[in-house]
């Protein structure tokens, strides 16, 4: 079955870039994009998935600042999605903080290169249900 990826970033141009890049690496990946974190959470809540989709989340969403999105995600047991965090900030404390969240499978600084996209894709493809 095709794996799913949800990209959440309030920069709509970046969403286009990432969607295109992932599409190039893995045309079979099913991609949805969201500008608002809250919309993504609602989508996750109201959808049925055979396999929890991977999430690629910008750390500085306008509506769910900093770690709010992850905090909300953690509180709900149904969300066992792999989370990849992306950020345009170069604040060095961020990566270590992300380790506190068990869902987080990676922390990447923007811009994402094709190498990074390839690595993320690999992790998504290899992940087992549950």
């Amino acid at each position: 079955m095709n794996k799913e990826l949800i990209i959440i970033d309030d920069d709509d141009i970046l969403l286009v870039i990432l969607e295109k890049m992932f599409g190039k690496i893995n045309p079979n990946l099913k991609i949805s994009t969201f500008i608002k974190g809250s919309d993504a959470l609602t989508f996750l809540k109201n959808s049925e998935f055979n396999h929890p989709p991977a999430l690629l989340v910008d750390l500085h969403l306008k509506d769910l600042k900093d770690w709010d999105f992850l905090d909300k995600l953690e509180t709900d047991d149904r969300f066992r999605s792999k989370v990849f965090i992306i950020t345009s900030s170069v604040n060095s404390e961020n990566p270590s903080k992300s380790k506190r969240y068990k869902n987080v499978a990676g922390f990447f600084e923007k811009p994402l290169t094709f190498d990074v996209i390839q690595r993320i894709n690999q992790l998504i493809v290899e992940s087992n249900p549950n």
Binding site: D11, M21, P111, L112
Partner: protein
């Protein structure tokens, strides 16, 4: 017994020459360099004292002179002797008056019939020393008063119970603009804005409850012209007439605080700039770099020229990225320090 070698100059006011001679002889037994000037009556004594009162170390005064005697004599002589000790010589009949003469300003009294070399010498030394001690005490009292009066920081002394101001120094008058008399009709509450009265009451209570060493507090004080100033108070407990009093050293830190606030404001702005640098500025740059990545990976055949142009855009954005990272790193240091 070894004689005292220090020079002494005494004035003996005594109408009886025999008594003067005995006195001089007795003292000479103990003192090597004794100079005794003889005044036979009040008039002569006054002349001598007025001429050069500093000359004498001590005055012996007989209580009955032909031209003046008793209370008035003691008063007049001690007044003119100023700092010099006056030892009254009295007959046995006047014993009671001898002790009264002390209240009139005499330093000591001796009963003529009991005079001996030892008693005279002891009285001379004792009374000269005593005057020295008193003047030293006066000096040190003045020194302490100066420490208070001339202290460059305002110092307020207040009654613990009523909070009434008991004393202020010159610097307080300068700083607050109230005269000393105005101060003495005020209490600590008058120095605070009305809304700070409760703060004052609890601050005073807290200070007196705790044995407040190194107690320092910042509060707002009002000047006479209505101007508010931020002051740091360093209070101490003292006793005035056996009553608890507080002595507060005032340090006007209005300017310092203004300065600190200004720096804090600037620091806040600086932090905001650092944040913008780290998060906001870099976002469009990351996007730009992403676009370049995408173009590079594009399958469409680009002309060599365009490939070169993309390469240039990439180099430029990487350069900009390095600068932003550098600034972020520097500002991070400041983040962590504050």
């Amino acid at each position: 017994m070894k004689k005292d070698e220090k020079p002494y100059h005494i004035l003996v006011i005594e109408d009886n020459l025999g008594d003067f001679v005995i006195l001089e002889e007795y003292l000479s037994e103990s003192i090597l360099n004794l100079e005794a000037t003889h005044a036979e009556n009040f008039k002569e004594a006054v002349e001598l004292l007025e001429k050069d009162q500093q000359l004498y170390d001590l005055v012996f005064l007989d209580l009955s002179l032909p031209d003046k005697s008793g209370e008035e004599l003691v008063k007049e002589i001690t007044k003119r002797a100023e700092e010099i000790p006056v030892v009254v010589l009295t007959g046995f009949a006047d014993l009671e008056f001898g002790s009264r003469s002390l209240a009139l300003g005499a330093s000591d009294y001796l009963v003529k019939d009991d005079l001996s070399p030892a008693v005279l010498y002891k009285s001379l030394i004792y009374n000269i020393q005593r005057v020295n001690f008193i003047s030293e005490l006066k000096d040190s009292k003045k020194k302490y008063a100066d420490l208070f009066q001339l202290n460059p920081s305002p110092i307020l002394v207040y009654d613990f119970e009523t909070l009434k101001i008991l004393d202020v120094n010159e610097a307080s008058v300068q700083k607050y603009g109230y005269s000393r008399e105005e101060f003495l009709n005020m209490d600590l509450k008058d120095l605070r804005p009305k809304e700070d009265e409760a703060i004052l009451i609890s601050a005073v209570e807290e200070f007196w409850k705790k044995n407040g060493k190194n107690y320092k507090k910042i509060s707002r004080h009002l000047k006479k012209n209505g101007e508010l100033m931020d002051v740091e108070r360093s209070p101490a407990k003292i006793k005035i007439n056996n009553k608890d009093a507080g002595m507060v050293l005032i340090n006007d830190i209005t300017e310092n605080l203004k300065y600190i606030h200004k720096i804090e404001e600037q620091n806040q702005t600086f932090k905001e700039i650092a944040w913008i640098q780290s998060h906001v500025v870099r976002a469009p740059l990351a996007r730009l770099m992403g676009l370049v990545n995408l173009l590079e990976g594009s399958e469409e055949n680009l002309s060599e020229d365009n490939k070169k142009l993309i390469e240039y855009i990439k180099l430029s954005s990487e350069e900009l990225d390095a600068i932003i990272r550098d600034i972020s790193k520097k500002s991070e240091g400041i983040y962590n320090e504050s």
